[in-house]
Symmetry: C2
Subunit: 137 residues, 2 copies
């Protein structure tokens, strides 16, 4: 039985915020959008429907909790949720705050331009703190 | 209390395959990819987390059932699942069969090029029939 190990590219492109019941909640290193990622800590998964029914329910719960928190904290126009995995096959779910008029609006953000690392560490930490608070309440 | 009515653009861009417990299952009028859409038949919904917990569970069940059927029927490389809604706000979930080397691979398909209507009605009907069979079994 294999053990869960985070994909090297997902690890490089994001940082851990917290661990939920099933998933790692991570923040992408891209300041263009508040961009979160959920990674179920289960080995060898590439599609959501490969998870057990219980894990599917947990993933839904965690995704929707994180989506609602992101909407609340950012006041975004629309939350975008996506499970693509065309490049990195390890199952991961994107949860992104989108704003009318943001650089890629209304198109998708995946593959759009180059990521812009956070320069303002205070605003990055502030986002993380508010998300953790919203999720915990 | 308002009644569910399908958004006019979603209706124009897709056709009904079948109605599941919660959602309309629809086929996009774009032959570039086997591209399905689930539309929960609930009024005034824009985000998944606005659905009741039971509807969230139903949506998860239906999305994963449809995703598994699409994978089985098409033998695709990867299923892409997305809830964006930046253009059409009525809640809808995309389930798309992606193939290595398809026109947009490995990028997302939303906003990519122009849709190509099905010319071959037999292959379109064949896809629909196989999907319905896979979902029913």
């Amino acid at each position: 039985m294999s053990r869960f190990e985070l994909d090297a590219r997902l690890e490089r492109d994001s940082e851990l915020i917290t661990v939920l019941g099933l998933c790692q909640l991570r923040l992408l290193k891209d300041s263009r959008w508040p961009w979160l990622m959920l990674v179920p800590q289960r080995p060898s998964m590439t599609e959501i429907f490969e998870l057990t029914p219980l894990d599917q329910a947990l993933l839904t719960f965690e995704t929707n909790m994180v989506g609602a928190a992101l909407k609340q904290v950012t006041g975004c126009t629309k939350v975008n949720i996506g499970a693509l995995g065309n490049i990195v096959r390890q199952l991961h779910i994107h949860v992104i705050a989108r704003f009318e008029g943001d650089p890629a609006w209304p198109g998708p953000i995946w593959g759009f331009g180059q990521s812009v690392p956070y320069q303002d560490q205070k605003s990055r930490q502030d986002l993380i703190d508010k998300l953790v608070e919203a999720i915990s309440s």
